[in-house]
């Protein structure tokens, strides 16, 4: 009852830019085992330049939704369009790769290749580009790629650690390397799955600051999940709440009230 009231209300108040949305999902469903619906009819639009936070309690399907959006998991039903191309169970491999190449992805943790240098890890972000078999090590990559990698590292303030092994860095630093890797290709869209969840509060805030600042500077659309209410409200223009595989509410960040959050995270 509450969901319906809020949903219709936000649909009216959100002003919609002219251009087609970057991501458009209609009635999106996803189930891993054909019985339990993890995502149960998600309607969602994300426009270029927005910063959107996706919130919800643990296990409500946030990661599943993000991975479905870029075709890491096939969707079970509904329609999904990314960058104007339909994504579905039937989308071709080439299409999915094409889409991923316009997207940067940052995971919660452990997403760097531990035994490689920081710079090599950042250059991995160019995988999928022409001639990228050389991207596995910075020492073999083209000079231009090395320069881009180092510059991306400089943006996250880690250029001096370029030759360290990735696992020699602290958790917060590793996450900043992951951001550099996601941004080295200047994607249109940056997706981050709980980027701050494994960090201490101060590093977490630094990482979130870096995200919102870099995305604004480069005009990159940001979609991130969080189970931290402050992160969701402070760094996003819009907040979408998930509950039981459905969208609970979708409204501008400044209009999210403590009561909304309580409903989102309570049993």
């Amino acid at each position: 009852m509450l969901d319906h009231a809020t949903n219709t209300q936000t649909a009216d108040t959100t002003e919609q830019p002219q251009a087609a949305p970057l991501i458009m999902a209609c009635g999106l469903t996803k189930s891993y085992d054909r019985r339990n619906m993890v995502l149960d009819g998600i309607d969602l639009r994300i426009w270029a330049g927005e910063r959107v936070a996706l919130i919800g309690s643990n296990g409500c399907g946030k990661s599943t939704l993000l991975k479905s959006l870029i075709g890491l998991h096939p969707i079970s039903g509904g329609t999904l369009e990314c960058f104007g191309n339909p994504v579905g169970a039937q989308s071709s491999r080439a299409q999915r790769l094409q889409m991923r190449r316009q997207t940067g992805f940052v995971f919660q943790k452990h997403c760097l290749v531990r035994r490689r240098t920081v710079l090599s890890n950042v250059i991995h972000g160019l995988y999928g580009d022409r001639g990228s078999w050389r991207a596995f090590s910075h020492s073999l990559a083209p000079e231009e790629w090395r320069a881009r990698g180092l510059q991306a590292l400089d943006e996250v303030d880690l250029a001096d650690k370029a030759m360290r092994r990735a696992d020699a860095l602290s958790g917060g630093q590793q996450q900043r390397v992951a951001i550099a890797r996601a941004l080295v290709r200047r994607p249109q869209l940056l997706i981050a799955d709980e980027p701050a969840a494994s960090l201490d509060p101060v590093s977490g805030r630094n990482v979130m600051n870096l995200f919102s600042q870099l995305c604004r500077a480069h005009g990159i659309t940001l979609l991130y999940t969080s189970h931290d209410m402050d992160h969701a409200i402070d760094y996003a223009d819009r907040v979408i709440a998930l509950k039981c595989g459905k969208v609970l509410f979708d409204r501008p960040a400044e209009k999210v009230t403590p009561a909304d959050l309580k409903v989102t995270f309570d049993g």
């Binding site: 190449r101 992805f105 995971f107 997403c111 760097l112 290749v113 035994r115 999928g128 596995f136 992951a178």
Partner: protein
């Protein structure tokens, strides 16, 4: 709220009748087998004098310079067979293991085919492979090298594939999300992650190759084993003892070297 029940795990309650029957049957099988194939005290007692006589005829080992030079050439050939065979085998094992590894393989479920192929290479013993290659390629070192190649693929193919299956999943998923293809994920994320275990398995493969290349000559596939067979066939026991000593020394040296290398890599 429903009533909560806590279950205590069962403690040992004695052997069930079924398990008891199985244990008795197992004991029976072992005892009858021992009666059939284990040496009886009588046989042991009879064998001891023959054994000492044989050892007596083996001593002292032959140290004739001409003979030693021939042995040295054979040893070199043995090493060449082991080294070249193991190297080719290790290189070939990498792509084969990639095809065989679950959830990494470009073949998808077809990985089982590659797995079965590797198992087949492994289950046929190396001496049987040597016989096959001697029969098809002819006597000599090439047949030995082929045998080592096949043997190494059987060994490394399995361990490389297992290492690839156990490689950290998160970095692979991250590269996949970037748009990297399967080959890029292999080179960029999987191989760096499993490098220590690859090197370790390869060193074991090399050790194993030296050990088996020593006996390949028994069936005519080149190397020092050929000299050993000749020595026994012609009852030249002092030559045989020298050869056995050399084999011991090279296998031992090999193990010391690979242990040292392994320790440096850890």
């Amino acid at each position: 709220m429903a009533e909560r029940t806590i279950h205590m795990p069962k403690r040992f309650t004695g052997v069930s009748p079924l398990n008891f029957v199985l244990l008795v049957a197992l004991g029976g099988v072992i005892l009858t087998s021992m009666g059939k194939v284990a040496p009886s005290p009588q046989q042991l007692a009879d064998g001891v004098p023959d054994m000492t006589r044989l050892v007596g005829r083996m001593l002292p080992p032959n140290t004739d310079p001409d003979f030693l030079a021939r042995i040295a050439r054979r040893i070199l050939e043995t090493f060449q067979i082991a080294l070249v065979g193991a190297l080719i085998g290790i290189v070939l094992s990498l792509p084969i293991a990639w095809f065989a590894a679950r959830s990494v393989s470009p073949l998808g479920r077809g990985n089982l085919l590659a797995k079965a192929f590797v198992s087949f290479l492994r289950t046929v013993p190396d001496l049987v492979w040597a016989l096959l290659f001697v029969a098809s390629i002819g006597l000599g070192a090439v047949a030995g090298t082929m045998t080592i190649v096949v043997d190494t693929i059987g060994f490394c193919g399995r361990f490389f594939a297992e290492a690839m299956e156990d490689a950290e999943k998160e970095p692979q998923e991250a590269l996949s999300a970037i748009g990297a293809g399967r080959g890029s994920i292999l080179v960029g994320a999987i191989l760096p992650d499993i490098m220590p275990s690859l090197v370790n398995s390869s060193l074991f493969a090399l050790e194993k190759a030296v050990r088996s290349s020593v006996v390949l000559g028994l069936v005519g596939a080149g190397g020092i084993g050929q000299e050993l067979k000749v020595a026994f066939d012609l009852f030249q026991y002092r030559n045989a003892s020298m050869i056995i000593l050399t084999i011991f020394v090279i296998v031992f040296l090999m193990e010391v070297c690979t242990d040292k290398l392994r320790a440096r890599i850890q």
